[in-house]
Amino acid sequence: MYNKAEVTRELQKIPWFKEIEPRHLEKITDIAHLRHVRAGEVLFREGDKEDFLYIVIEGRVALDIFVPHRGKVRIYTAEPWDLFGWSSVTPTIHQRTAGAVAVVDGVVVGIDSAKLRQLCEEDHDLGYLVMRRLTNIVASRLLVTRLQLIDMFGSPEEKNAK
């Protein structure tokens, strides 16, 4: 187990947390834990109950979706300072929509999603910062997903020059 000072130290390495006032950081640290993960370790599976929002400190975590007849398809990888499991903070999604597996050894911070939501309700200044950050993450994921949907490498008839 890691103590609170270690969790605080790790969170303070993340640029976003540098914007947060100490009183808010302390509240988040109270509901956060550090977790060492081994390559191949599953953090959660599709269909699991949403419980934690994660931030990668070290390593790489892949998000995957099981596709019948194709197996698990890795759709995204999160690296240091990236978040995953963000939908757990929204009030409407209660099940994991993708699985998460560490592809190399690493460290993640897990933040209790229900408690974070509660903190945001109680303190709207903190809530604004958290939701602003999550909005940036969602916008970024939406763009990435759009580019994946376009399948930009997949229009061969238009690519006859190279």
């Binding site: 390559a39 790489r60 892949a62 998000l63 995957d64 197996g71 698990k72 398809v73 890795r74 759709i75 995204y76 990888t77 690296e79 240091p80 300072w81 592809v103 190399v104 970024s140 763009l143 990435v144 580019l147 994946q148 376009i150 399948d151 930009m152 490498f153 997949g154 229009s155 061969p156 008839e157 690519k159 006859n160 020059a161 190279k162």
Partner: protein, 288 residues
Amino acid sequence: MTAIAPETAKSHSGFLLEPHWAEITAITPEADGISTYWIRFTDPAEQEAFRFEPGQFNMLYLPGFGESAISISSNPQDHEKIGHTIRFVGNVTRAVSRLKVGDIVGLRGPFGTYWPMKEIEGKDIFIACGGIGLPPLRPALYHIIQNREKYGKVTLLYGARTSGDLMFPNEYAEWRKAGIDVEITVDRGDANWNGRVGVVPMWFYQFRIDSRKTAVLTCGPEIMIRFVIFEAMARRVPSESIYVSLERNMKCGQGSCGHCQMGPYFICKDGPVFRFDELQSFFNVEEF
């Protein structure tokens, strides 16, 4: 007129419209539907005289099928053979896929502008490319490796649809050994892929880019290029330090036929490599 390459179409005299004959000496399969064809001019004197700059292309001619613009993917210092990495997607390139070692093709070139290797000396180089966009940049990588001391930090961020679509994977170790930070990503991974998953532009956040001294070179699907430029400029890389290689339907290779026109430019003659500030005003315009 582009400012980066004073000699816009650096073609060999006599190569402008008349194809010269070359023999396929080897074929290297690269990925599904993509192979590198190694050729030599049948006339040794022509082979000896042939020179190109990284980023230029040749017009490959197959009698009965026509011509196709193909970027040169080989080492500019290797005067023994010329490499073209070809995706079999059109009439001509599908016919090329049926050729074998010993067959003869016609060749005109080299054409077009090139990566400004001289002008970006002393800078950090950030190469962001995707799919079949790596082959036109491979000669630039070879040039950097041969002149490593002339460049600062060099990063190659390369993406493909899947791990099986990655070009030249056997060379990455050698490039890394030469001091190039090779970073690979794929759009879709399977359970055996432990590398990055995600489109090329999204990974910019993982790199420290010093906008004052970094040149960005990019080539690949135009949609990827748009977002690479977006990410580079979000990090304050000036448009004068971003270089783009574009592809269009090129026919004549010398700016005469107009097939490859983009705004005021003919990609075959004024490009394919442009400095982004030259394209900026109409790059995001629909239908261009």
